[in-house]
Symmetry: C2
Subunit: 264 residues, 2 copies
């Protein structure tokens, strides 16, 4: 029998810009009597990484462009939020009311450039002056930094993933996906591996880091469960140093990628 454990940290404090996230995670682990073990996977929700890195923007500080104003009217969103979505994106692929699906500057196709306002502490009570969180500038670098800090603290080799939840084409529901990783292979190349009976597999690659992200996401929940860190223990995962942005399929390789919209 293979046994793998998922351990969800329930008492990380609300994270603020400039916080030392590795120290907060280590303190929460200590409080729960949990010591990191060699080759644990530490899976961290994007939102707390963005907060610690100060990737928060007050909408009152944003001046929307005419393009953002036009698109905002079309999708019935705040023009300042649409401005941020456009700044964070390479292109817009699809829109409908409430939804702007983009190719994020990191290469991932996602809704609203991964920007949202849930679980962001709002400064003041003015509904017109919301604070929103952008994705980390470089989630792979964030994962590597967290890994170094936690490894130095605990003296064991680790892997770190930073995850978000994305919608998918063809299937309902958002699922956990990796947007940053360090020490774990984002994808596993299985070409040519024999199966149980010695045949060669036709399948090319396994979405390894995304499967880990979805597993951790089950514990994180999506809202008020408050489990921003999950430790996965016992999985013989594939180690590697490729970045998570490797998972983003190049547009030219994608059979379902529409051309970017003309925003004029």
């Amino acid at each position: 029998m293979i046994r793998v454990e998922l351990l969800g940290l329930t008492d990380l404090p609300l994270v603020r810009p400039g916080d030392d996230l590795a120290a907060l995670i280590a303190a929460a682990l200590d409080r729960q009597g949990l010591a990191l073990a060699a080759h644990d996977l530490v899976v961290v929700a994007q939102k707390v990484v963005s907060k610690a890195e100060g990737r928060l923007v007050r909408l009152s500080s944003v001046t929307p462009s005419p393009t953002a104003e036009r698109l905002a009217a079309q999708v019935e969103k705040d023009p300042r939020l649409v401005e941020l979505i456009l700044r964070e994106s390479k292109s817009v692929l699809r829109v409908r009311p409430g939804l702007v699906i983009v190719e994020h500057r990191l290469g991932f196709v996602c809704a609203n450039a991964g920007i949202d306002r849930s679980n962001i502490q709002q400064e003041g009570s003015d509904a017109h002056d919301e604070t929103v969180a952008l994705l980390p500038l470089d989630p792979d670098a964030s994962a590597a930094a967290l890994r170094r800090a936690l490894e130095a603290r605990d003296g064991v080799p680790l892997a770190v993933l930073i995850i978000d939840s994305h919608g998918r084409a063809f299937r309902e529901g958002i699922v956990g996906v990796a947007i940053g990783c360090s020490g774990v292979a984002p994808v596993i190349d299985k070409r040519g591996d024999p199966d149980l009976l010695g045949y060669r597999l036709q399948v090319t690659e396994i979405g390894h880091a995304d499967e880990i992200a979805s597993a951790a996401s089950l514990l994180m929940g999506q809202a008020d469960e408050g489990v921003p860190v999950v430790v996965m223990r016992g999985l013989r995962y594939a180690r590697g140093e490729e970045p998570a942005r490797r998972i983003a399929r190049l547009p030219a390789r994608d059979l379902f990628r529409p051309p970017p919209m003309e925003l004029g």
Copy 2:
């Protein structure tokens, strides 16, 4: 701290048509000293369900239609296999050499209609007479039957998922997805749930069963690991009786669904 366990069964025997899969799983659990507990999630690889249900086809028994012959030449696949892919599908969405992406009759968008030959015991040594496995006729019904049989045997309430691995638009790598389920909600509607700070979430649905499928898929591996059954224990999953085919997004609701190809 939240603790969830994934327990992978390593010694299920090779499954043959007509086998009582619930009995085989129960025997494997017994051998490993594992008793199912109330509300365990039993996650089963599609392949063993298909084998037990006799969803195996010898290619020598298949006569390809002219349409299958033409498409086979285009994608460089065996015309008999392409014939089976077409029979199992509502429409073909995209093709390239080695790959036919279809809307399966169950509604899922997947490569080659979920048909493959890995880990299928071949009858005889004639490479021209391969045996391939089709998806179960009704994976939701298969999940419900397995659940009833295991619940009756163990006297505890359970949930059962049947999973496959699918590719995705926009991201590299295949990941575990649910194609059949019983006792677990395929998706969770989060609209209107408050977040930590009392705001309303904008997100609509969580791909709950797919996240469970991906978690289990990590243990199953994709090839010679031989772990076709994973028990997930300790997750406060969403119970429900909607079928997994509920996860397949209706084409009219899908922002990235191309029109079916004309096969002529």
